[in-house]
Symmetry: C2
Subunit: 353 residues, 2 copies
């Protein structure tokens, strides 16, 4: 088969980790007789530098024309100190999500047996953790009306959800739960927020269409606690944009494998795959960043965007092998063990596929 | 000295834990020659049952007339399944916060050496943790306009903050930081929200009035991660209402001592002290609930509301002693050790003051 993939490397370590994912993807394509065409495009701080905006129209067209988007990371320290600067890399991210209709962010959290002791949590708390957040990504307070009044003395942000927005996200949640242990948790703050009450009543009304799925409803503050206490009691969790931002990041540190966690954003027009880590500016150009989260994001792309399960499994298998054999970057290297460079890890994966 | 304390026992285990705090407070008062008058009042589900509303006017008047309020917990399972029911216990809580002007919720998180192994986190991650959240409690999305349009198909919640609201909360944060290690972290989402940008610029402008305080600004999602990874790197954190709700609950489970964590809500007219745990309905009437968080809340009341530091220290000392000697309820009892009842713990504290 032939696939066109938009390649948005972004900023910081983005280009380095993307490079390894491309190497591994090409090797898989060769092995399984597929043909991949990569179409690179600018986004983030590098796009601002080059053309003045963080998500240029040309990039958008390239994404729309592709079968999937592989994304690195964006953000540059020069934008860190002034969150009210008129042009910022994050705006590109939000615009991209909105224009590509990526309404569901899929964030798995699972453990790698060989890394479990890296977790800040005790082993018995996290063993068996295998959960997935579905975060709504194109609505809520991120995209509602916002501004100032009273000469700048009062600020406001509006959180808005429609029933249709909740339904399409929840549908993905029910469907995902059906492929797993059939447990779905709807995370809201329905004791305070009207948008949460709409979320809850909408999900409640959908329960009858998925009689096999056991649905629970938990308040966001309770979930923030239980994720630390008993993460392995969750399966699929669905939630709105801002709660999802906070909880998925919290969840990402419990497994001890944050540098390895992939993610997908799916929706109306295309799907996008990216590591959950950031642009890690201090490491830029040093060839030390861990490429595995991006490689595993490529595996998600093969499986979910192209329906190529065997190819995805092959990537995951070789990643597991590299972990077991200690072919890892400095963040994962045991004390005194050999430290591999970003590109060494990629080369090893390609050679061992 | 003479003190009048409004006593809001609330629901579930509230009356039981409050009872022990009253016993200990009375013993301290006797020892230090103070006179306490307790004025009980209804709030929560029990107030709905008795008079139809969760925060009756009479209760409000009792609170306003008192020198401080000691609060148990509210909530009853019969209200759990329908967050849109017209009258709910939580509404009483929000109304009480608003009418009493309790704009700052003070939530310390610290470790007890004897309990550190109860934590889901590894010992080396939490040792030395001693942080305080100041959560804004009477503004933001909790109190903004909310409702439905399009025949119920669209829901909205408005988040609004004024500069004055941010200033009064931040002022308490700077003042608290000055009494501690002089580190203040402002938690926001200034890369997305206009209200967060108002928070950040307001706090930035106040920095010059507290030159000794080192202020950092972190996004709420990053804090949700770092709280699990390195909680002992924080000192004082200030944040808006909803972020505070999520993060203070997350923080409460890291120390392993959640059942012991006190809190205060302070502001314009009076101050209120309460354990952070809930009404724990399953344990109601069984005399098994841990009263120590409420006893330690009473200690905060003696120190902060009445300026009685020695009295507060005496309470904390006897609580520490009870922990060391294993005079604890079932939640803290070691395997095979004697389990004390709620009232046994209170009796022991009184006898050992
Ligand atoms: C950079 C920021 C706007 C973004 C978000 O809040 O969505 C990020 O935190 C994320 O989760 O992808
Ligand atoms: C019960 C609920 C309304 C309340 C809140 O969200 O403020 C509670 O979670 C708290 O933190 O005191």
């Amino acid at each position: 088969m032939k696939y066109t993939i938009a390649l948005l490397a972004g900023d910081g370590i983005g280009p380095e980790v993307i490079n390894e994912a491309v190497k591994v993807s090409n090797a898989i394509a060769k092995k399984f007789n597929h043909e991949i065409t990569w179409t690179p495009a600018l986004t983030g701080a590098c796009a601002i530098d080059a053309v003045g905006v963080p998500y240029p129209d040309e990039t958008h067209e390239i994404c729309m024309a592709a079968d999937a988007v592989l994304f690195g990371a964006i953000g540059h320290p020069k934008y860190d100190n002034d969150p009210s600067a008129p042009v910022r890399p994050e705006q590109g991210l939000l615009l991209m999500r909105k224009k590509l209709g990526l309404f569901a962010n899929v964030r798995p959290t699972f453990t790698f047996p060989s890394l479990i002791d890296n977790s800040p949590l005790k082993r018995e708390r996290i063993e068996g953790t295998d959960l997935v957040f579905l975060r709504e990504l194109t609505g809520g307070i991120y995209f509602g009306e916002k501004g100032r009044r009273d000469g700048g003395e009062t600020a406001f942000d509006n959180c808005v959800y429609t029933r249709a927005e909740v339904q399409r996200l929840a549908k993905k949640g029910f469907e995902l739960a059906m492929t797993r242990t059939k447990k779905l948790c709807c995370v809201d703050k329905a004791n305070v927020l009207e948008t949460s009450r709409l979320w809850r009543e909408t999900v409640q009304a959908m329960e009858k269409d998925y009689p096999e799925v056991t649905v629970s409803y938990e308040f966001v503050d309770a979930v923030a606690m239980r994720l630390v206490q008993w993460p392995n009691t969750y399966d699929v969790l669905i939630t709105e944009n801002l709660f999802g931002d906070i909880l998925t990041d919290e969840a990402s540190v419990i497994s001890g494998s944050m540098g390895l966690m992939p993610s997908a954003s799916v929706g109306e027009h295309t799907s996008l795959y990216e590591p959950i880590h950031g642009s890690y500016p201090q490491a830029t150009g040093l060839n030390i960043a861990n490429p595995l989260a991006t490689v595993l994001s490529a595996a998600m792309m093969f499986e979910d965007a192209f329906g190529l399960k065997e190819e995805a499994e092959a990537i995951r298998a070789v990643v597991n092998k590299s972990l077991e054999q200690g072919i890892v970057t400095e963040d994962l290297a045991a004390k005194g063990a050999t430290v591999y460079k970003t590109s060494d890890v990629g080369d090893w994966l390609v050679a061992n596929l």
